[in-house]
Symmetry: C2
Subunit: 282 residues, 2 copies
Amino acid sequence: MYDIAIIGSGPAGVSAALNAKILQKRFIWFSSGAVSEKVARAELIKNYPGLPDIKGGELAWTLKNHAESMGIEITERVVTGIYETGDKFSLTVGSDIFESKTVILCIGVQSVKPVRGEEQFLGRGVSYCATCDGFLYKGKTIAVLCTDKRFEHEVEYLCKLAHKAYVIPLYKYCQINMPNTEIIVDTPLEFAGDLKLKEVCFKNKKIEVDGAFVLRGAVSPATLVHGLQTEGGHIVVKRDCSTNINGIFAAGDCTGRPYQYAKAAGEGNIAVHSAVEFLDKK
Amino acid sequence: MYDIAIIGSGPAGVSAALNAKILQKRFIWFSSGAVSEKVARAELIKNYPGLPDIKGGELAWTLKNHAESMGIEITERVVTGIYETGDKFSLTVGSDIFESKTVILCIGVQSVKPVRGEEQFLGRGVSYCATCDGFLYKGKTIAVLCTDKRFEHEVEYLCKLAHKAYVIPLYKYCQINMPNTEIIVDTPLEFAGDLKLKEVCFKNKKIEVDGAFVLRGAVSPATLVHGLQTEGGHIVVKRDCSTNINGIFAAGDCTGRPYQYAKAAGEGNIAVHSAVEFLDKK
């Protein structure tokens, strides 16, 4: 059981991790990729106070090193669900469950919106987790929507299990090449069906499937945490970074504009202090 | 007429200045002392993301240099009053008035509370400004409460004008030495009088005066801006750092805990973005 689970490793996540470490909390820090991956793609940052004219890659490296210099470890796994269970939270990570008393969401903003019907058919044909649900589709027909090259091993795992797999890569240079697999270079518009998922619809065609896997670095906040209050895709937080769910805090771009590194780092700091206050009160 | 007046030069003020510059606003930045003076007194800072294990002095120097590297100038003067005048604000600085469409308060938290009666007798015997009001007390008896060595030249100016001056230094090694001046090493507890100030009261004595000057690096937010909503000494702000007065924003320690550099820098960033949005709407 952890005191704090931090999800995300942008500036907000790094800031949260530093403070959780300093405040000597038992915490776990999840990242779906490299630390500050999105920061690394920024060209030149002029307004992060104390680091003038820093390139994105350099800032990402600096933040990563700061955490490492304090002996902070990162768990490179994707959290796909957070459930309130009594006075704690259960986090679904692949086929594992992690438990924590508080959660700090530093999950950034999604550049990819969920596909229409995605939330509706989640658990009814749509899955986020290859290792958890893959076996359910052994010998069946599936679609695999994959947003990033780094999930290709999961795609391959699913293709091996399935009778027939449609792979929909949302990135360039997909290298999946298996006999039972068809690559579709198109944007899926809708998951359709009745009680269960039946089709994946594109602009000019539909494919019939038994199930569909969506492999993303992150899922939308409302999908990640059932009942979490959002507004325009942002998590609604108070000044202390608390959300509408007691014990869940949020920091960084996911809480809204301005999308700024200094703002994110500041909120990561605030969120941990609020989480610690919450833990102390319990 | 400025677009933005930034008051204070801690991490919030520096962050605000960087962003005002980048967003190409016409702004003026006031500091009552050295940039990030309070930061400089911190021993070791471990949780400012990107600058691991940095000494206070080094962080202060780094922040100052960042601003300087962008050609940002600082105005080393104390703002003693902010007044809403139509759709702009007038800032009293010594005997000068500066005008700005918006104001960002980054004034930190006061370690010195106002003396009882200070606000009550402000303008009725109590003054914050030697150069503006000194002449009113020519040939009279005054008390001069001084919180910092750097205001000693103002103290001397007042002593020269007065017939008799009681100087109350709230710092060590006061070097005022003038024939008509008595140094009182004691804490003033109250300014008393009826319609006008008459006495300064200490634990075991009172002194009769015609006027009293209070020379501080900063005044309390509620004294600085009439009508500003505060709570427990902190300025009440919304998530966008706006206060209850349209066009006035606040950032950093003055908006409440946690008193953290990252939080302050984040809010300085947010406040400018909000001020710019406010200006655009006008």
